[in-house]
């Protein structure tokens, strides 16, 4: 494999601290992570462990206090369309239809080089990918929470990002919708060969989707505690895995990390 592909997203010695009224607050320290191209990574940990902060650093929405972040051999100096972000609360613009929301992203990335028809074509394709063509002219308040999140995913994917960053994308959804979207996400990622970094607090979600699970210690000054390799074959089927001993072993390992090694964080 190409060496760049082995080191697609690099996080080196990153520390992040915020200035608060009580003084300096160190959120993250000594973060080192190397993500391969096409890999699906989840960040898991108790609330307040800085997993969203790490995601925002990769997104370029935050700048590290020290250390370097690199994406495809370029230093991350701010947000950019090469890193598509799916927000927890979908963040669709309520005055635009689903189509227009996605089109806004498409236009920004491809507007200079492609015709109007091509842009509309790309927008439609992104909505087809998440099975939402029938709702493209609806406004966000007219569709369900799961559909909104799918539009958010379509918007991020429509930019053809190098990396897809997802911040607890299914956290606000009910269990059935969540399972359905996880299955869809697996198919989309398989089809697009996307590199994904996803923040979650759901152990099953992490094991089901990930190639590697990055488990974070409790804050303040949180860091990467352990990294678990999820060596389950793909495509994965949630029903088959329900009776798979190896799946349960991996799940147990994450649970042990969260509720034994980092148990105190749960009360914070």
């Amino acid at each position: 494999m190409n060496p760049t592909h082995q080191r697609y997203v690099l996080v080196e010695d990153v520390q992040m601290s915020f200035d608060t009224r009580q003084g300096k607050f160190v959120a993250l320290k000594d973060i080192n992570l190397n993500i391969r191209r096409g890999e699906f990574i989840t960040l898991i940990g108790h609330s307040g462990c800085g997993k969203s902060t790490l995601l925002n650093l990769i997104a370029g929405l935050l700048m590290p206090t020290s250390g370097v972040l690199i994406c495809a051999e370029r230093e991350i100096a701010g947000p950019g369309p090469d890193r598509g972000v799916v927000f927890q609360n979908h963040s669709l613009l309520p005055w635009l239809t689903c189509f227009e929301n996605v089109h806004l992203a498409v236009e920004r990335v491809f507007g200079a080089t492609e015709s109007k028809a091509q842009l509309a074509q790309r927008t439609s394709e992104a909505l087809v990918l998440v099975h939402l063509s029938h709702a493209e002219h609806k406004y966000p308040h007219e569709i369900s929470g799961g559909m909104k999140q799918r539009v958010g995913i379509a918007r991020a994917l429509s930019m053809q990002p190098k990396v897809l960053l997802m911040d607890e994308p299914f956290g606000a959804l009910d269990a059935l919708t969540r399972a359905h979207l996880q299955d869809e996400l697996m198919k989309i990622v398989a089809a697009t060969q996307s590199t994904v970094v996803m923040v979650t607090h759901d152990v099953d979600e992490a094991v089901l989707l990930s190639d590697r699970i990055v488990m974070m210690t409790n804050g303040p000054a949180a860091t990467i505690g352990e990294i678990l390799e999820v060596d389950l074959g793909k495509p994965r089927n949630r029903l088959a895995l329900a009776n798979d001993a190896h799946y349960h072993g991996l799940r147990g390992a994450v649970l042990e990390f969260l509720y034994q090694k980092q148990a105190n964080g749960h009360d914070k």
Binding site: P79, G84, S91, L93, W95, L104, A105
Partner: protein, 256 residues
């Protein structure tokens, strides 16, 4: 049955309120012969509105012309306030420095009664009509600046993050995010200021004279025509209500 229920729940209470109001009015009018009762006022009103658009010299015109003149003044002063106040509100909301720079001045001038500005208007414009418009301008500009700025400041961080992640240009941020997100706040400002403007025009016209509903009230006071004063109160109230309802309807269209 449905029809009956609708009557008891939505139509009966306001009708009862109005009937009670007229009854109290009639009772008061009965004990004091200087105040005309509802029936006398009604006859006077039908006579007045039978010919609303006559002109018999500059100080004797139909009620329709008086209302129209007042509306024109309010529209002009209010329009000028919108043209200046809304962009200013956007800038104040967007740039913290400008906000802090203007905040003490706005806080100090806002509570001043708009009529206090009338002499300045007369001094500068040397005419009654522009001075009245000037007073309307001053009274309507504050809610527009303050509400627009508040709308810009309350822009959810999520939307700004979307703008940053998509790397949108300043123009796109304005047209696709900032403006639509601020619009409901702006419309609140517009609604508040048209309310104030309509309140103030009566007082301003009493002082400046000419044609207008405020001047008309003053003129009828000098004629001791109390029926007409009471009619004017209703007219001012109803026009104010209509203006407010128009803007409420407009605001409903833009609430997401």
């Amino acid at each position: 049955m449905e029809y009956k229920k609708h009557f008891y729940e939505t139509l009966l209470p306001p009708l009862l309120g109005i009937a009670l109001f007229i009854l109290v009015w009639a009772l008061i009018a009965d004990t004091r012969d200087t105040i005309p009762g509802p029936i006398k006022t009604w006859h006077s009103a039908t006579a007045l509105f039978s010919d609303p658009f006559y002109i018999k010299g500059p100080n004797d015109q139909g009620i329709g012309w008086n209302i129209w003149s007042s509306l024109k003044r309010v529209g002009t002063g209010f329009g000028l306030a919108a043209v200046i106040g809304i962009p200013l509100g956007f800038m104040i909301g967007r740039f913290r420095f400008l906000d802090q720079m203007t905040s003490p001045i706005i806080s100090m001038l806002r509570p001043v009664s708009p009529l206090a500005w009338l002499p300045i208007g007369l001094l500068v414009f040397k005419a009654a009509n522009p001075a009245a418009i000037w007073v309307i301008f001053i009274s309507s500009i504050w809610p527009m600046i303050i509400n627009t700025a508040m709308g810009v400041r309350q822009l959810p961080q999520d939307y700004l993050n979307v703008a940053r992640v998509l790397n949108l240009s300043e123009w796109k941020v304005f047209t696709k995010i900032l403006f639509p997100a601020t619009l409901p706040y702006m419309l609140t400002g517009i609604r508040l200021s048209i309310g104030t403007a309509w309140l103030v025009i009566v007082a301003a016209e009493m002082l400046t004279g000419g044609v207008g509903i405020g001047f008309w009230v003053w003129d009828e006071w000098n004629n001791l025509n109390v029926e007409h004063i009471i009619i004017a109160i209703f007219v001012v109230g109803i026009v104010g209500l209509l203006l407010e309802q128009m803007l409420v309807m407009l605001a409903k269209k833009f609430s997401y």
